[in-house]
Amino acid sequence: MAALLRFDQITKRYGRQVALDSLTLTVEAGEIFGFVGPNGAGKSTAIRIAMGFLHASAGRGELLGVPFAQARAARAGVGYVPDAPVFFASTPLEAVLFAGRLNSEDAGQTDADLRTRALELLRWLDLPVSFSGWRAAGKADARKLSRGQQQRLAIAQALVSHPRLLVLDEPTSALDPPGVSLVREALVRSRAEGTAVFFSSHQLQEVETLCDRAAFLAAGKLVAMGSMAELLREGDCVSITVRRLQPEDPFVRLHASTLSQAHSIAVSGDLVFVVPVHEQQCFLEQAWLAGAELVEVVRQRRRLQELFEMNRRASESGYVSGAQSDNPTDELRERP
């Protein structure tokens, strides 16, 4: 199946500054793809190049199979939500209809279809549909909606033409928890309708929960990419839970002081140690000799937050400036 969005060695320079360095990734149909990275990593630049707002300094890219620069008609099949949406003076319904009408010819929607779809989206995203009375007239302006409502209105605009690909730039920034939930629900529902989703976010929990695949960007370079299962695969530590040991036992004191990576948490008398995988055998033997009863040994699952921190630290130390491997995650794992 052809990729809906393809970056092929895309580079963007502003004078001598490299904002994006040979970015290569694809977004396939039906998936939710998270685009993660610290501020200034180049996420918005990549999205703006894909949408045709910026021109790449080098490399090629395609949106729904059409080169970025010639993708005017193809954009009828794409919904875009900017990080800070700005609206014309109009009611929410008019704003959604306006967005739909700009695409209607290429998307093949009649005005009646658009109105039905717009009303459905406004109700779905919990946005005001109708206003009555002169006192409410002032609230009818989309520019006067709350930030969360504006974000949801931008999503409604993006979805009105039944896009094949939804592109969102920080869709949940500055949203309250109920707003985040609504947006999250919108993304899941869009995927259920067959729309692929490509979004940048700082909300790592959101990326971890929603995404099928994710990519990490740091200092303009892609440093990790893969399915969530790959990215969150088992880490390099195990957590070992033991009982019948007291904090003052020599074994506990020894390991609390000599194993710098280990820490213990008392949970109803049990002690939990987190130790590196290569030290677990030695640790277990010593614990057994000390009279401990082994409760469980669990390989620790890496959280996206850890990966994000690793990427951030790597980018700050300049490590990521080297050649990119085929699997950047492997490259990361080999770092000191």
């Binding site: 707002f53 021109h55 005017r72 954009r75 875009y80 900017p82 700005v86 014309f88 306006f98 700009l102």
Partner: protein, 231 residues
């Protein structure tokens, strides 16, 4: 250009104009209000000097206000991220640019139409000619002004507007030395002095329109190759 393209351009231009509809309405009413004040003050029989002064005032201040409003609106639009919400749809950059130009030009054309209505009313009242070339020249000047405001900063557009106003003022003073008063007389004098025949006036008007079209085409080409300023 197909009907679909025109529909998209009108849609965007309509949304842009809707934002400043109250200000535009007040500006369009202004020449008529001045007409009414003049007629009321002089019991329906104003002097030709008063009429010339009023038309002149309407022309300079009205066009300056329209130019200022349009260039500020276009400058704001360029800075607003709303641009990306329009261009993320199936809207070409040339279409968007023409919509911006249209949103600046329509108020200008509307104002000139109202001004021409008031000037024609006075011309009939005072039985003096009101040449068509005046309207053509003003429309062309407005188009060029709007086009320049699209690609450069608002300040630059204002400098051009100021220069244009100064030039017209100088021409008016020159016209005054020839004993011709009022903007209608000025444009009539310019047409007579420089061309001498209706055919030449028509050719000059066509030249101005071709020049304006060239500016628009060049502007579309430049805009299509530029990065949007979104920071």
């Amino acid at each position: 250009m197909s009907t679909v393209h025109i529909q998209r351009i009108l849609l965007v231009a309509g949304m842009l104009l809707r934002q400043s509809r109250i200000l535009l309405l007040l500006l369009l009413v202004w020449p008529l209000a001045l007409c009414a004040i003049l007629l009321a003050a002089d019991h329906g029989k104003p002097s030709s000097e008063d009429v010339s002064a009023i038309l002149q005032q309407e022309l300079f201040y009205g066009l300056a206000l329209i130019g200022l409003g349009a260039s500020v609106a276009l400058g704001t639009e360029q800075r607003a991220h709303r641009t990306q919400q329009v261009l993320s749809r199936a809207v070409g950059r040339a279409e968007y640019l023409l919509a911006l130009g249209l949103s600046a030009y329509l108020p200008f054309a509307g104002y000139v139409a109202v001004w021409a209505l008031s000037a024609a009313s006075f011309a009939v009242l005072l039985k003096t000619p009101m040449p068509l070339s005046a309207i053509v020249a003003e429309l062309a000047a407005g188009l060029l002004l709007c086009a320049s405001g699209l690609f450069f900063s608002v300040v630059f557009a204002q400098l051009i507007a100021t220069a244009c106003t100064g030039a017209v003022l100088a021409l008016l003073i020159l016209a005054g030395t020839h004993g011709i008063g009022g903007p209608a007389g000025l444009f009539g004098w310019l047409a007579d002095q420089q061309t001498g025949s209706p055919l030449a006036v028509a050719l000059q008007s066509a030249e101005v329109l071709v020049l304006a079209a060239g500016v628009c085409a060049a502007a579309c080409t430049v805009f299509a190759r530029k990065d949007l300023q979104l920071h």
